[in-house]
Symmetry: C2
DNA sequence: GGAAACCTATGCCGGGTCGGCATAAGGTCT
DNA sequence: AGACCTTATGCCGACCCGGCATAGGTTTCC
């Protein structure tokens, strides 16, 4: 049973004679006659009754005809899909990132991307830490992984990358606190505050620790969490100052924010998107990287000091 | 694109290497490697990235994989259907009969038949007169046609047939009329009644006319119709005596019935089922003929004299 | 680090499949 | 009855397809 046989069967049934079907399929009549005979042999039943010069479907033939039509339709769908993929507009794209990046940047980007590439199916999932993301890339389970650049430096020969957008370290506290109109706070000034920080598995946590050492302060850490959201909730309640990345959504939360600086320079990392060098990236995937980067640079920092956000708002209205 | 290529693609995608797929499909690895290459050439895109010794699906490959699975499922459905047809239990059966036979006998029989042959699709339609039925059989539009035996005698070399059940000619009148306890009426006794008869295109009408001639009476026909139901309605209203076949449903109607006889012998015809000799009849079709005949002989006459029906009812309770 | 095992891709060759041409047999139409 | 149309089958050659052999690359194990 193959598609050629199915096509033959349907053509003969539709046209009523082998000769007409042969004309339509551009094959000699004897070859078609033989195909019908082969099909009948393979199925083990008569598909047609020979009535005069015509072939008339048997009851069994009628049922098989419907099934063969469905088969040919399915084959046409495969061909259609291949054509769509050839125009570069269709495919599957599996992307992994940290929960904050997914929530803070990628989620709102997707409708944008879908408008440009409606036939591309994007599958998002979350991973914590670079080692997990790298393993998934290597195993071919995902096409793209988003992470901070600093985290990957020692092993980046395996991967190609495109930078997305900078992410700052922010101090966040409840509304009763005031960081000043400067929009930033020198790291040394945090010394007297109770601090709510991320676990040391986070790059930002390690950077914060290093900056404290350089600034010669000993941070008063009162709470440590794997979940950045928890830090925000506790800051809101006045338990202390949360140290968080600017990629987090804080809109609508009663928080005061300031960028943390060391010697006037922001503690900053670059988020980056990676893929395995050994794998090809179709046009829609490279477009995904480029477009996501543009969108993030446009909208970042998602969260930042109040003065900066207001200035950006005025700028955006021009 | 053919089913062999689709099978290859799915096997390699599932197993991750050409070698394992070759073992599963019992084909040499080089042949499979070439099939994959051919598919990539045909589709015009890479289905797999070569990662070390493995083949890893591209995004486009993933989408085509789903479509190819659907294709193989559809092909399996064709094979399944052929198997079912080979066990004789599946197919299509197109049957034509007069409206009275369809309504009186076939309709109630179908659930019975469906319980025995659930995968056979029976398509019923009505035709008036033998010439229409014969034409449909000849054109291959239907498999079986039900008609009265007498109507087909001059041309039955073209068709094979099986007898179903006898059908009597009945006299039917309103409740105020009494045919007597005999359950039958000699045709000569109808002479003085106003008669409601079928058109001459009906075999039964022609038989009735012939019997009148033989009996030496001139029937007082006050109404003639193509529609047997109309005769019943008028009989109920007291317009006269309707002359109808016993295959009609009269249950629940306020009617008195008597079998019409000539010289004590019932005016009777045999209903018969026909098919074109040139066409094969599958087992489910021959079973249809046999079972329908049995059922009709069991349930006929559907309508008959009151005394007979009461006797049959008593007999049925034993 | 090197050897062995495993994997993909490609060349070569022969057997089998497939389709065209020719033709016999049967059916339909005028 | 003759002309035309159709199906089925024989014969033959071109080409497709799969197996074996092998080169090159990657991974695993000691």
């Amino acid at each position: 049973m193959d598609l050629k046989h199915a096509k033959t069967f349907v053509a003969v049934a539709d046209l009523g004679t082998v000769s007409l079907a042969a004309l339509q399929l551009r094959v000699a009549q004897p070859a078609l006659s033989r195909r019908i005979a082969e099909l009948e042999r393979e199925f083990g039943l008569k598909l047609f009754d020979r009535v005069g010069r015509r072939l008339v479907l048997t009851g069994g033939g009628e049922q098989l005809l419907a099934d063969c039509r469905a088969l040919l339709t399915s084959a046409e769908a495969v061909a259609e899909r291949a054509r769509a993929l050839n125009t570069g507009g269709a495919g599957v794209l599996k992307v992994v990132g940290s929960p904050q990046i997914i929530e803070g940047a990628v989620a709102e980007f997707l409708p944008r991307y879908a408008r440009r590439f409606p036939a591309v199916q994007v599958k998002l999932s979350a991973a914590i830490g670079w080692s997990e993301t790298a393993a998934m890339l290597e195993r071919g389970e995902i096409h793209l992984g988003i992470n901070l650049m600093r985290a990957t430096l020692p092993e980046d020969q395996r991967f190609s990358s495109v930078p997305l957008a900078p992410i700052d370290l922010l101090a966040a506290s409840g509304p009763s606190h005031d960081f000043g109109s400067k929009g930033s706070i020198e790291i040394a000034q945090l010394a007297g505050h109770p601090l709510l920080v991320l676990e040391t598995s986070y790059v930002f946590r390690r950077n914060f620790d290093a900056a404290c050492r350089l600034a010669g302060i000993s941070p008063n850490i009162v709470y440590e969490s794997r979940t950045p959201h928890t830090l925000l909730v506790m800051a809101e309640s006045g338990h202390g100052v949360a140290i968080i990345p600017s990629a987090m959504r804080t809109k609508g939360r009663p928080l005061r924010l300031a960028a943390i600086t060391y010697r006037g320079k922001r503690l900053r990392e670059h988020s980056t998107i990676y893929w395995d060098r050994r794998r090809s990236l179709p046009a829609y995937a490279t477009a995904f990287c480029r477009m996501l980067g543009e969108r993030m640079r446009e909208t970042f920092p998602i969260s930042g000091p109040t003065a900066e956000l207001a200035a950006r708002k005025r700028k955006g209205s021009v």
